[in-house]
Point group: D3
Chain length 326, copies 6
């Protein structure tokens, strides 16, 4: 991973840390051996946010690192305001680096008279930024919502690399997904780990929309189970899934996911489950008290090095895809 | 389904039949008891298309019915040129009615350095039309690629209604999908038909990207199998799937799909399969010679009545969603 | 003010109440003798908002009434999502009714490297709505930030009508403003009430940016003082102003303003001031506990009747300006 | 202020002088030690303008220096046509340098059924240029009318620096403004000069919209008066102001303003006033015959050096804000 | 041509007369039996224009009739400002009626480094209007410069109808054009009048770009000559043409053209030519003194009735093309 | 014509050959001593095209060389898809190099209710590319249809240079055009070759729109005739023209044109004519079997060297116009 200086025609890298991704931004800056740029972020008593850059970015290549986890709308507006500030200050190029993109699950009208909020979000970012970077979108199609080019990165290999090291200690591991919409990605996991695949199916029973029956398609009895998903929110579905696989004879259960949303009491709820290990990334920072609930069963893998490398290549006009093909 | 005259503020309905959807357009016109508008479509020797409307559409509510099946690019350009002609002739509103939308499978960058052609297609339609209508998009997210409102309709209930009548004659029917990306929709099929669900999984073996192993997740031995998909192109995957389910002990096999693309020798290939019935819709017209290959095993259900009703409601400002909720 | 039915070519009025303007929306609906349309607003545990309309708005003239007070960003996103939902459901026209527009004070770059957030806000609304309505913008120029037509209404006459009734009981009343940027509007107040005008001037002293000296330009000794402003946020400036005018010999003090932002402990702080009456409008709802702090010294004048009349005229294609000229 | 050569990624500076800013453009070119680029400007007998560049600007960083004073519309169209010519000739970046922006006073709808022409003007420039530069906008908010980044510069320090040198010879100087909308900027003047502030208030009397009463808020008797404004058009208001302050006991009067519009017989009218000195800038060139009317009482301060420095920094990607903070 | 009242869904016709087309607008209004709407047009001393409508146009179908002849830029800006005023006042539809479109000859880059000003003009109109109407564009392709629909009308039949009545009194008439770019339209003239066609060819001689040789292609000796063109500007080319055809043996000469630009001393120059009749239209008003120069040799045919009929049909959603096919 | 390396701020040249211009692209690459970039172009059985670049173009200056001759719509969509792929892969600049632009003859509404497809085509290219290059547009105005800058190049001098060498062997050569719309360009040809000019005129006779009478304006008897046109499609018009000039006494006939569309059996039809030589360019590749029909009477002049030089200058930010002025 060379860092040789090469004059870029979009100016020099300028890194800005949004308030929601402070730790990640520091890691990226450290990896690149660059400072984080100073800027004031003021939240006035009327909740209006205000940004002021400490120095000019005229003609530079700017990156705003800001995930859009809780408080979601504040973080999202802070992102947009910072992007606009850089644009109006005549930056050569502005890139929105959003490790976790909010509203990605509102990506289609699967019933009449509802919004497609992910397009709204993509339009807003496209209005103020020249490019964007994000991780493991709920649906790959969301990339098509943006009018600007971007890098939709994946923590897939970060997660599978970690899992491969654990495999020798697992017994007949099988990859399981609780979301049929995630079946294809789960298959890729299983393929990479060279394990079988099983799926949990939920369906409505009778006329009551709430009543659900769950079943398992595929074989899990007497297997270690690797439950995979892209994000865990309240942990409700995953808790149901754990109980179900246990009921169907699963041995050890591992939970692997990218985005640690962990709303409400998700941390406590998950920690109480009969799960051997929780493995996720730092696209969303996990507050220390939540992390503590898991004891040593939680492993958070960082995306910082990958992101740093992508930023460097974007600035230098070198291939990002090559990072993943190798 | 009332058809009472109500003065619409977008003018009167004007129906135009594109050259690729002539039969469907006639059925819609018949259902609405309206004429198809006359227009010349000339293909010059240099292949450039030319459109001339027989009468003015100033201030009217125009619908161009044109599917984008083979010849794909000619049909698509004919659609765009017709839309522009109506727009420049000062139509009050122009709606692109595209039962089968081309390039819907090019909807994401699942590898570096490839296009998202579905967004390109959606942008072009959005530039020339005020609204669009289409059927059973490969991914619901494509609706978010359009910058204009539209009605993404589903032939789901047309297909399941037909299947429900066949169910009493089936033995332990099970719904199967050969595409993991279709798992969720297949579950909805199974739920509606109150049958179990099984899935076919393909994965690469070894280093050769071509070598694939196929397996079945779920139970199909001694069941009648209903293979569901959104479209059938060359029929290659579905043929593999039929052989596989037979090998795993399936009894009768039914193939159910929306869009009859049927490229190359798909019709012959399908007709040669040990399949009891083929059920699809007329979003794409099936040429008589291809249809003949299936003998009486092919059932084509029409979307014309549904589409006619949607056009009527769109013109009158009445709910389309209500058509599906009832 | 006639309400005779006249067929509008943008459909019938459909009123939607955002969660931040529930009471105001009900008053408007009551004035127009129309129902509020039903819609679900769900806030998922991950804070993502979701909207679902109870019935179709196809071809109708829709108004979303949502002020953007605290929680500002949630309310603003709710507004945008609701507007998009209506647009995608093929409404004939969508109007954003935002009595108090957030970020209106971030309307210019008065120092380098800062944002113009009001333009960002206006762009977002312009993307999803066809028209907008708002009240007493901090700067009239913000109307030029929108790319869509709109009605920027004023509660000026609602406030001055109320004050005129109080004037006979005042002693030598003088209008005073604590914000030099508000000088012109304060003059209009004074002109309408036929009283003199005085101004409070703040300026930095020495090198310390924080140290301020305040003075009064004009005569207030032995006068009743009417302090006017467009909004009161934390009440800090207005509290300083009250103490200053008292120190310069003011008799009774009245505080008149449009937007009751009342952040932090503003209500308590204001209530503790030697002020005879507080007069404002309901562009922002004042929570009962805050209102209680003022006892009977607080008068909240409603904009509902005016807004209802404007909506009616907008729907019918009649002059709104005429409402204010009369 | 270093001028070291640094390869800019927007190409080399290319300066074009519009016909309305010839002298200013020459001064800027001289300061930068760069030639003005040659181009033909033809006004055909039918008044249509035509531009032809003498040499290619492909890949270069172009600046068109053109103020929009009288003849306003010709100058404005010349600006737009020149910008388009550069854009179509594939310039890397095109900047509109408009020291005085026309229509800046038509910046809001302060009555129904009127235009916001400043937005129209900003939109036109935004369509053809990548960036803009201008001076002392009537309202800072106009910056938000542009969709492109820009530098709104101020001659504030040029004017106050000059005044500070005159202060020792003044007697109890007080800053006065005749426009309440200018109160805040006048306060900044007073603060910088460490003088008091007074304001002139006009208001309608009776029912006749024309009849105005004028008064002074603040103390000016026996003071030297510094009348400040952003522009002087016909000089009518300022003449009234001079007579009023004299009537209220002012001693010497100085008039300070940025933009010398000087329409109709403004020069003669002003020259006839009992004013000691007129101080303005060269954002608009003053024709020699008009300048002559003032004798030696007129001081025109140049913005050329400042503008040259800003252009240089814009090209090199260095901070412009820093020029003003120092 | 019926004028029966039919409720249009774009509101009622509202006619506005720009200052350059007052007489034409009155004729149109008279033909339609509708009033011209009142609006103030103020030209401030600083040349900035200001528009104020006398009454609201909310929800109405507005037409601004303004030609863009001398003073070209003032007239053009007045047009744009009026269009914006109507748009911001929430008109249902705004149509720019521009009988003579300025800059139509700057329609291509026929040499490097020049503008395409007609596109600039079309873009500006497209930004503020929903539709446009104009007459006999210099090149039909300019219609493609607009992003909005429009009606490019032709006075062809008005002119040829008039000529046909004169033909019996002519001797062996031949149509001649002095502009090779007008050859095709001249042929249509000749075809309609059933006369032969001849062309005047100019070409450069030697190295001097100015030196031109002129010749005639086709037969004119002993013929009456009908010289046709789309517009006459200074009359220089047409004067040369008259002398040339006379020199080649022409008998009586008639000059027929659409747009009477008549810059500089064109009227006098033309009047001095050995021409029997001048026939043109009123797309541009001819000032009485210029008209007087021609004595009774000038015939101005009005486009008002045609334009009125087109406006009526546009409002009612009836075919305009039908007007010309009949 | 130097090719010295100069660091461009839009990255390095990357050449892509579309499937319709393979030979031309190779010649350009050879001239520039650069490789053609590798990319896969797949046409799936359902006719959908798919592009995958072999290596990243991040930050590079990309040129897609693709003419839009038959199969027109496939070639055009391939062009657009390739442009989008490059844009989404974050190229610094993307240029569409389209030697022959399809639909250029659908450039105006010369009758009601028809499209302006050339604008549609220009809009699509403008959406995906930053710049374009093309040759000898049917009408120069089409350049104004694009919203992006471009280079509309001419093979004029390539053709006239070749003809000048032939002139000494011709007898009284005269330039003739069969299309009155081409009269001006034909005059330029004649002027450059210093020959006279004649024109063929077609007109309708009687009421039958099909019946045409043809005549010649100008002198050709006993002259060698150089028939010029911009493109030859089916060859129908040109065949008529050849017969006509022969009938009017022409001696040898030469046919000179830019774009060899050659639809249907044009090659055979042309080859059968009494024509001495056919001279054209390679903006469209002529298949060997078609070329063979002409024997040694066909001369194809290449535009590759000119295009290569233009690409080089575009990349380096040097004048392209200068290439033609010299």
């Amino acid at each position: 991973m060379g860092k040789k200086k090469k004059r870029s025609h979009v100016g020099d890298i300028r890194l800005f840390s949004g308030s929601a991704s402070s730790e990640l931004a520091h890691k990226i800056a450290e990896h690149l051996d660059l400072p984080l740029e100073g800027h004031d972020l003021v939240c006035f008593p009327n909740e209006n946010l205000f940004v002021k850059l400490h120095s000019s970015v005229r003609g530079q290549d700017c990156y705003v690192i800001q995930t859009t986890s809780s408080p979601v709308h504040n973080n999202f507006m802070e992102l947009l305001i910072t992007l606009q500030t850089l644009r109006l200050d005549s930056a050569a190029r502005v890139t929105a680096v959003v490790p976790y993109l909010c509203y990605a699950r509102s990506d289609k009208k699967d019933q009449p008279r509802v919004p497609i909020t992910a397009r709204l979000v993509a339009d807003m970012i496209s209005s103020e930024a020249d490019r964007y970077m994000t991780f493991d979108l709920h649906a790959g199609q969301i990339q098509g919502f943006f009018s600007i080019p971007g890098d939709v990165l994946s923590s897939f290999s970060i997660l599978t690399d970690h899992l491969k090291a654990l495999l020798p200690n697992m017994y007949q591991p099988v990859v399981v997904t609780a979301d049929l919409g995630f079946a294809k990605k789960a298959r890729n996991f299983a393929e990479s780990l060279q394990t079988p695949l099983a799926l949990i199916e939920k369906r409505r029973t009778g006329n009551d929309a709430r009543a659900k029956a769950m079943g398992i398609i595929g074989e899990i009895n007497d297997h270690d189970v690797i439950l995979v998903d892209d994000e865990i929110d309240t942990g409700g579905s995953i808790a149901e899934a754990v109980h179900l696989v246990k009921q169907f004879g699963a041995r050890d259960v591992y939970i692997v996911f990218v985005h640690a949303v962990l709303s409400l009491n998700a941390a406590e709820r998950l920690a109480a489950l009969p799960v051997k290990q929780f493995i996720c990334t730092d696209t969303i920072p996990i507050p220390p008290d939540k992390a503590a609930a898991f004891g040593d069963r939680l492993t958070v893998l960082t995306i910082a090095d990958l992101l740093a490398e992508v930023i460097l290549r974007a600035n230098q006009g070198r291939s990002v895809g090559a990072l993943f093909d190798e």
